[in-house]
């Protein structure tokens, strides 16, 4: 199944793009998506990031579904 992953802030520089489509096995979790992303780059994602699924905060164990929009959110700096 395909999910769309959005990268924000400094994470765009980690990937080199603002978004990416990722192919995952059915029933994959947020944690497994992160493992897949970390395998793409020479250094892993920084610690302390949050993940959203369809614009709501999600946990590492949340199961993903085809077409989900996953956000990788570094520590925020708005306000």
């Amino acid at each position: 199944m395909m999910v769309k992953v959005l990268f924000f802030g400094v994470l765009k520089e980690w990937l080199g793009a603002a978004e990416s489509s990722v192919e995952l096995q059915e029933g994959a979790t947020v944690a497994q998506l992160i493992a897949r992303l970390n395998a793409l780059r020479p250094t892993p994602l920084q610690r302390g990031i949050a993940v959203s699924v369809n614009a709501e905060f999600a946990s590492a164990i949340q199961v993903l579904h085809a077409g989900d929009e996953v956000g990788l959110l570094p520590p925020v700096s708005g306000g």
Binding site: A31, A35, R36, F57
Partner: protein
């Protein structure tokens, strides 16, 4: 949801993102009603330096759909937590120059104590949870601001990740 110049109203108040300069006077004027005894305003402005480095300008970006949703929820929580009548929050995105406003928060209520507390809580909480990020351009380079650590339970610890062969039960 895209950033827009107009202000959208909901039950508690008005929450929006904009790419235009924040025009505070009409926003403040429209927030007050007859039953209000106090209006507290927070105007967040771009400072001319960060830790001794001279700032040229800031660029703000957001996960817009989620940021509006989060700000709306914060307005509702402020109402139930502090008993204020109305909350307006406008956050600006895009390029901001020194001394421009990045955020305007207006809280109207019957009494000043609740308005002050709600306004303080709103800006403090926005700064920790709402998906908006700034990149600061200094005289000598540009960096993404470090950002506030997420509250407990919000971030995912990605040093504890399953490899592809693991099942969700093992996490």
């Amino acid at each position: 949801m895209t950033a827009r110049d107009d202000v959208e109203t909901n039950q508690v108040g008005a929450v929006s993102l904009t790419r235009a300069p924040i025009d505070s006077a009409p926003i403040i004027a429209s927030a007050r009603q007859g039953e209000d005894g106090a209006v507290v305003i927070f105007d967040g402005i771009v400072r001319n330096e960060t830790r001794g480095r001279q700032t040229l300008y800031l660029d703000y970006e957001a996960y817009e759909e989620m940021a509006v949703r989060q700000m709306d929820e914060l307005a509702r929580r402020a109402q139930s937590k502090f008993g204020v009548r109305h909350v307006t929050m406008v956050h600006r995105l895009g390029r901001l120059q020194v001394s421009e406003s990045s955020i305007l928060i207006v809280v109207a209520s019957a009494h000043r104590g609740q308005a002050f507390e709600a306004c303080r809580w709103l800006i403090d909480t926005i700064k920790k949870t709402v998906p908006i990020w700034k990149k600061e351009t200094f005289v000598d380079g540009a960096v993404w601001a470090d950002g506030e650590p997420f509250p407990d339970g919000v971030s995912v610890d990605n040093t504890v990740v399953a490899d592809e062969s693991s099942t969700p039960n093992l996490i």
